[in-house]
Amino acid sequence: MSAANNVNPPVVFTQDELGWVSWIDPLPEAELTERHFAGLVDRSRSKSEYFRLLVRDPEVLEARTKTDKDIFYNVADGLPRAERELAAAATSRYNGCIYCASVHARFASTYSKRRDDLQRLLDEGVGADLGERWNAVVKASVALAATPIAFGPDNIDELRRAGLDHAEIVDVINGASFFNWANRLMLSLGEPSK
């Protein structure tokens, strides 16, 4: 268990790099077996407290990681990476995951070169005006994150009007939906630290 007095939690959304500390015990690196390494997918993830915690259930972690990678990294076709990251950042901003929002706003900035717009999303919230196409992606992500789910035909129409085809709309649905998975783990099993 991490010493609470070493944690310096951020109190605003930021694109800075943050750490994350677990509230329950991750597996010690020395106890990882080949079953665990299969769950980690990338061996280097054994250095991360978050992944050594999730690897307590290696089969679920492996499937989750491979789902994540294909939704975000498979850019052979479909929505540009920047806008998949925008969906992740907007979902995280709306759910309130400061850690996830920091990572994915940063990625969206890197791929879009629109760092100031991402900062406005973080500072002003999901109502920030980022132009028609990004507004449609943010609004669809927010509608999907609501419980009960508020996503409807109007979101599809807006995404279409903004120029997205059906495969790109599915990338928005997948990316935003995935962060309703990721946010809940990051928010509830530990906390970010500056």
Partner: protein, 206 residues
């Protein structure tokens, strides 16, 4: 893409339809969303989180989302799980008691505090506690937090689960199950809405 997976079934996507073809462009994601479901509901080892507990939490979580077709699938699943049928009514009553709208909750004290939004802090009713038992009572209360106000989560919530008899590994799998279902129900709903806009009928076969 051949056989329908669970998301196809719940979203009403037929083989060789245009949505099936689009899903086929992300085969690794499609296969691993299915593997996630299977590893959560047909695990190698259910020692830290029983199959009955998994099915009960799943119905509770999906019921709170008010997507009746998906909830119907998980209600059938709980009823078909050993010892599960006796819990269906209690879970349905608790779903009705827990219904609200999210996300809400508090941010860390500071500039974001103006965005704090108060809402229901759900607790299992005293009448249902004997049916559900200590572990499921703690699980339902935490699952409600995860569904509606995940930003309220604190280290004390982990201690509450540990005190109710959950192991650290059990907490990880339980958290994954709730978080995965939050993903699955959104993909299903999103694809159903898109499918309907393409003029397909989208009746879930489950």
């Amino acid at each position: 893409m051949g056989t329908k997976d669970i998301i196809d079934t719940l979203a009403g996507i037929e083989p060789d339809s245009s949505l099936d073809a689009i899903r086929g462009r992300r085969m690794q994601a499609r296969d691993n969303a299915q593997k996630s479901y299977l590893s959560l509901f047909e695990p190698i080892d259910a020692g830290d989180f029983s199959l009955l507990e998994r099915a009960a939490v799943a119905l509770f979580v999906i019921g709170l989302h008010r997507e009746p077709d998906v909830a119907g699938f998980y209600r059938t699943k709980l009823a078909a799980t050993a010892d599960g049928a006796r819990l269906v009514e209690a879970v349905d009553v608790e779903i009705a008691r827990g219904e609200t709208s999210g996300p809400y909750g508090a941010f860390p004290a500071g500039p974001l505090s103006v965005e704090n939004k108060a809402g229901l802090i759900y607790r299992v009713s005293a009448e249902r506690k004997p049916d559900l038992g200590t572990r499921l009572v703690a699980a339902f209360e935490h699952a409600h937090l995860l569904v509606f106000r995940p930003r309220d989560a604190a280290s004390a919530d982990m201690k509450a689960l540990l005190a109710a008899g959950w192991s650290s590994t059990g907490i990880v799998t339980f958290s994954q199950l709730v978080a995965f279902l939050s993903f699955q129900v959104r993909v299903v709903t999103g694809l159903r809405v898109l499918g309907a806009s393409l003029g397909h009928t989208a009746n879930a076969g489950a």
